[in-house]
């Protein structure tokens, strides 16, 4: 164990999760995250979960437009004179 002065690498990896998935890290940061993920199943599981979660929320949130709404919208067009 360190004397507590070194930052926790998993906490650091957790901080990089969102920008990593958003492709918003620098090349150096990305390499750092990937190096850690290669050796850390704790973080790897949580990264995989995040990917699944985003996909899940995205699918769950979809509600198709009521079929009659499009006709109502079309009726709002201003007639040509």
């Amino acid at each position: 164990m360190s004397l507590g002065v070194e930052p926790d690498p998993c906490a650091r990896c957790e901080e990089m999760l969102q920008p990593y998935l958003d492709r918003d890290l620098t090349d150096g940061e990305r390499a750092e995250a990937e190096l850690h993920l290669d050796g850390c199943s704790y973080c790897r599981k949580r990264y995989r979960f995040e990917v699944e979660l985003r996909r899940f929320v995205r699918q769950a949130a979809v509600e198709e437009m009521p079929p009659d709404l499009k006709a109502k919208l079309a009726a709002l067009r201003i007639p040509l004179h």
Binding site: E14, Q18, R46, E50, V57, A61, M65, K72, L73, A74
Partner: protein, 196 residues
């Protein structure tokens, strides 16, 4: 010079009519996609339908201010979000001081603690959470954060588009997105396994 010939005027009118019809058709073709975003910006289907109708009525009146070749879906959503904000959003705005949200591993950790940790089969993950939980959790996220999540994570807009639509700096989009997703995970944890 500068005088329009008698023949030029009808031609100009015909061109304008053609441009307008094209605009209207393109806008209507995007209605499904705009609705998906609108539906999650407001609480009920009725509100989403009203907002769509107000948006399209305004868009059809203001069609000349759209620049052809730019992103029409973003243009429509800019009108829509402005109208939504103008409505006073009925529900309270996000308080100035948000409780400090948990980290990004929070939801996984809570599911794990509750003995519902995702199995090694990644596809099973979604089965730990219900669709209703996800919808309820999303609607519980304060508006300022939810707007950004809905535009970026559901509407597939870039940070730059979301910034333009909401008329906020791109850095604010990013910080609200990050915090909003964490708040969403806290809400999901509460819905899925109860509060701590």
């Amino acid at each position: 010079m500068g005088e329009t010939t008698p023949e030029a005027e009808p031609r100009k009118l015909a061109e304008e009519a053609r441009d307008r019809v094209r605009f209207e058709e393109e806008a209507l073709d995007l209605a499904d996609q705009v609705y998906r975003v609108a539906r999650r910006l407001v609480s009920t289907r009725e509100e989403a339908e009203d907002l769509m109708q107000e948006t399209y009525a305004r868009a059809f009146r203001a069609w000349r201010s759209f620049q052809p070749g730019t992103n029409l879906r973003a243009w429509l959503l800019r009108i829509l979000t402005n109208l939504n904000i103008d409505r006073g959003r009925r529900i309270q705005r996000a308080p100035d001081t948000q409780p400090l949200e948990e980290g990004d591993y929070f939801l996984y950790n809570r599911l794990e603690e509750a003995g519902r940790e995702p199995s090694s089969d990644e596809d099973r993950v979604v089965e730990r959470l219900s669709q209703d939980d996800a919808v309820a959790a999303l609607s519980a996220v304060p508006h300022d954060f939810r707007d950004v999540i809905v535009l970026v994570d559901i509407g597939d807009f870039s940070y730059a588009d979301a910034a333009q639509i909401l008329e906020i700096p791109i850095g604010t989009v990013m910080s609200r997105l990050h915090r909003g997703r964490r708040i969403l995970k806290q809400e999901l944890a509460e819905k899925a396994v109860g509060s701590v």
